[in-house]
Amino acid sequence: MLRPKKNLLLSEIGDFTRFVVRFFREAVRPRYEMQELIHQCFVIGYKSFSLVGLTAFIMGLVLTMQLRPSMVHYGVEAEIPAMVGIAIIREIGPVITALIFAGKIGSSIGAELGSMRVTEQIDAMEVSGTNPFKYLVVTRTLAATFMLPVLVVLADGIALYGSFLGVNIYEVLNFRLFYTQVIDNLAYYDVLPAFAKTFFFGFAVGIVGCYKGYYSTKGTEGVGRSANSAVVMSSVLIFILDLLAVQITELIWHTR
């Protein structure tokens, strides 16, 4: 007998939606795994800082060096700090940091939970009187949600310092003057929506990594696939969320 083919995309969306709903249900119910949450904040936040910091520094430096010839051409090189500041704070800082975060943390969570699934560690946790969803998924997702905004703030600062050094390769500019130009050209609607969206980016990276790892199958091959698809799916989600954030920001503040 012929059977209708299961729509894999719809099935995946349905499973993921159920997973997200379960996350919120489990997150508000006691028992709260505070100790594990703090541990995960350390693992996810502190241990990502060096990679995020390095890429942010290079990002600020390169952006300034690439931008400079065009700005000089139009005679507006004095606007470089303002332009780089807005670009980094509003868009490049949050998105690039979130993508780096997805690559490092999303894949790590996907592989860790996937490995725990295929080696029965999640089952062992359940028979040890622990709700594995609460202990593994809720803590990691919350830690990613809270830590990415912190990393983005730090990354923005480091990227601006990289930009300051980039400016000083070609001319001498006082550090205080550089930062005054950056801050003076920023409005609250540049900073607030950009900061707010990083919570959603962090949540997306955490929940997707957990979802892919938690339902990992087919042994070690499945673990690799979970890690890989966690990065791909969370990166796509970051761009979709960013698009939505920009539309919502423009709707509220008419920033155009």
Binding site: S115, T119, E120, Q121, D123, A124, V127, G129
Partner: protein, 245 residues
Amino acid sequence: MKTRDAVIEVENLCVVFGDHVVLDQFSLNLYAGENLVVLGKSGSGKSVLIKCIIGLLRPDAGRIRVLGQNILDLDVHALDQVRAQVGFLFQSNALYDSMTVRENLEFPLRRHWLQVTQKEVDQMVYEVLESVGLEDTTHMMPAELSGGMRKRIALARTLILKPAIILYDEPTTGLDTITALEIIELIKQVQLRYRTSALVISHDMKLAQTAAERIAVLIDGKCYATGTYAELKASTDPNLRAYFD
């Protein structure tokens, strides 16, 4: 044995995955203090059975009573209380990779017994490690241990809560002959020392011969036959002869 002594009662258990009937009206009792080995081929549903007993899988039909409680009717909290009295040795050992041996052993203790003091924890950890002959491994990571040592540590983790019942899922699979014999001997010692009842899932005839007081043979999802090793070996049934010849 009388029915009232049963610590695990499985009645008419049915588990179906898609079109495949894994367990079909399967019934079996485990009595207090006995070592029961369930024999079956790979993929015959042995692990499914044991996971249904501990509540990791929900059967499609049937009844499972563990220590007098119908586990299919229990809420999460009540199920955890039953699980605290049932140790489970996983086929893959399921030691937490990110934790040391000591943390692995402490984990179920701290999750089930919230009021336990550090001194009591230290004492219990030492006691179970001594039971499995690995007192010096507390600070080692699971990746640093051999296959046999991991199996022993996994057994120590199931013993730390002093369970009334231990469920063993293929305890000798993947081990060399000598290590497998050591694990079989350890299973027997554990039963004597802790007075546990044990349900062992295996296809290892050596294990069945040396550790089982009673054997149940799982064929086509049903409990095909039960008896002692000698009784089953003497059978002329061709399905049983396939195991014992």
